[in-house]
Amino acid sequence: MMGPASQGSALRTRSVIRIQDHDLREVFAVVTITVDKEMCKGCNLCIVSCPKAVLAVSQERGKAGFLVPEATNPKACTKCKNCEVICPDFAIVVEEG
C-alpha cells in the first residue's frame, strides 16, 4: 500500500486489496481514490456517505480554502462509489487500478 501523496492539484491514494475468491486463488484488486483539490468545496458529504469510513478530513486546503477529504483507510474501500456519485462537485474519482 502506498500512502497519500500530493500530485499537482489532486490528492491521490492508492491501495492494494487482497481478496480471496471461492477458488482460494489470490486476486489483487487495486483501488485509486483521487480528490481534486481545485473542485472540492469541503462539504464532507463523501465522508458521511461512505459505509466503510474510508475518507476523513485532511489538513490540506483546496482552491476554495476548505479542508479537503483524503482516503485515510483505503484498504476498507469496496469500490461502491457512493462518495463519487454523492459528490456535488465532481471532485472524487474512484478507479480500479
Binding site: C43, N44, E84, C87, P88
Partner: protein
C-alpha cells in the same frame, strides 16, 4: 478531473458556483450519468427558469435555453412542438415550478406534453435570499415569515398526478443512483414526466428553517425524511407526519401526447397550411 466532467461539462464554468454541500451539484452528476448511459447528448435540450436549480443545465455542454422566472415549461413546450425528435428536459426550482410558474406547470401536465420536468425542492427561495416558497413547511421560519409560516406546503407530486402527468417520481439528493434511473425512465417515457428531487440547502433553508447551516446535517435530515413507497404503505398516517414518501409514485401509458395530436390534426386537415408546416408534418 472527473471523466464525466471532462466529457460533458463546460470547462470555463467550473467549479460550479453552488454553495458547499448544495444538492444541485449531486443532481448535475446524476444527470450526466443518465445522459451518458442513454448516449443522447446530441439530441437533448434543456430549458430552465430562474433560481439556483435553473443553473443545473448551464454547466452542461449541450443546447440550453435559460428563460424567465417560471417560464421554463412554456419555452420547453414550444421547443418540443417545433422539434418533436428532441428530448427536452426542464429544470426548475420549487418556486419556479409551483410558485411563479404554477399555472404553466399544471397546464403542461394536462396537455401531456412529452417533457421531463425536474423540480428541485429545497423548501425555500434560496437564490433571492430565503423568502417563503409554496413548499416551505408549516411553521417554518424564513426571512419573510419571522413568526413562522402560517401556510401549508404544496405536495407537487399529487398536484402533477391530479393535473394529468403520466410519470411521477420523487427522490432526494441522498438517492443519486435512483435519480439517474428515474431520469432515464422519464426521458424514455412518452408523455409528461415529473420528478421531484428533495434537496438540501444549507445556506438558506438549513440556517433559517432548521437552524443549522452545516451541509452534513442538512443532508442527513433529507435522508431521514425519506420513506420508500413500499414501506410507507404499511405505515399509519401519524407515523408519516413530517416524512416524505419517495419512489416511482405514478405511471400510465397510452394517454395521447400533445405533439402527436397536433401533427395528426395537421396531417388530417393540411390543405390550409403553409409549405413549411406541410414539410414538418
Amino acid at each position: 478531473m472527473h471523466p464525466l466532467a471532462e466529457k460533458y461539462l463546460r470547462r470555463r464554468a467550473l467549479p460550479q458556483f453552488f454553495c458547499p454541500g448544495c444538492g444541485d451539484g449531486t443532481i448535475v452528476s446524476a444527470l450526466m450519468r443518465a445522459i451518458d448511459d442513454l448516449g443522447i447528448i446530441d439530441r437533448v435540450a434543456f430549458t430552465s427558469g430562474i433560481g439556483c436549480s435553473a443553473w443545473i443545465p448551464v454547466f452542461v455542454n449541450a443546447d440550453i435555453i435559460h428563460s424567465m422566472h417560471g417560464r421554463a415549461i412554456p419555452v420547453a413546450t414550444a421547443l418540443k412542438l417545433t422539434d418533436p425528435s428532441r428530448k427536452v428536459v426542464v429544470f426548475a426550482g420549487d418556486g419556479d415550478c409551483v410558485g411563479i410558474g404554477g399555472n404553466h406547470f399544471i397546464h403542461a401536465a394536462r396537455r401531456n406534453v412529452d417533457l421531463t420536468v425536474v423540480m428541485v425542492n429545497n423548501a425555500i427561495y434560496g437564490m433571492t435570499g430565503g423568502q417563503t416558497a409554496p413548499t416551505t413547511p408549516h411553521r417554518g421560519m424564513t426571512k419573510t415569515t419571522p413568526l413562522g409560516n402560517a401556510e401549508f406546503p404544496f405536495d407537487a407530486c399529487e398536484l402533477a398526478k391530479a393535473a394529468g402527468a403520466t410519470y411521477v417520481a420523487r427522490w432526494t439528493t441522498a438517492h443519486p443512483r435512483q435519480i439517474t434511473t428515474a431520469l432515464k425512465e422519464a426521458i424514455g417515457h412518452k408523455g409528461f414526466a415529473f420528478i421531484e428531487v428533495l434537496s438540501q440547502c444549507p445556506t438558506q433553508s438549513g440556517r433559517l428553517i432548521y437552524g443549522s447551516g452545516d451541509p452534513v446535517e442538512a443532508f442527513k435530515r433529507v435522508k431521514e425524511m425519506a420513506v420508500p413507497l413500499a414501506k410507507a404503505k404499511g405505515m399509519a398516517a401519524a407515523e408519516l407526519a413530517g416524512k416524505v414518501v419517495v419512489g416511482k409514485l405514478h405511471q400510465v401509458e397510452g394517454r395521447p401526447e400533445l405533439c402527436d395530436e397536433v401533427y395528426a390534426l395537421m396531417k388530417e386537415q393540411g390543405e390550409g397550411l403553409s409549405a413549411e408546416a406541410k414539410l414538418v408534418s
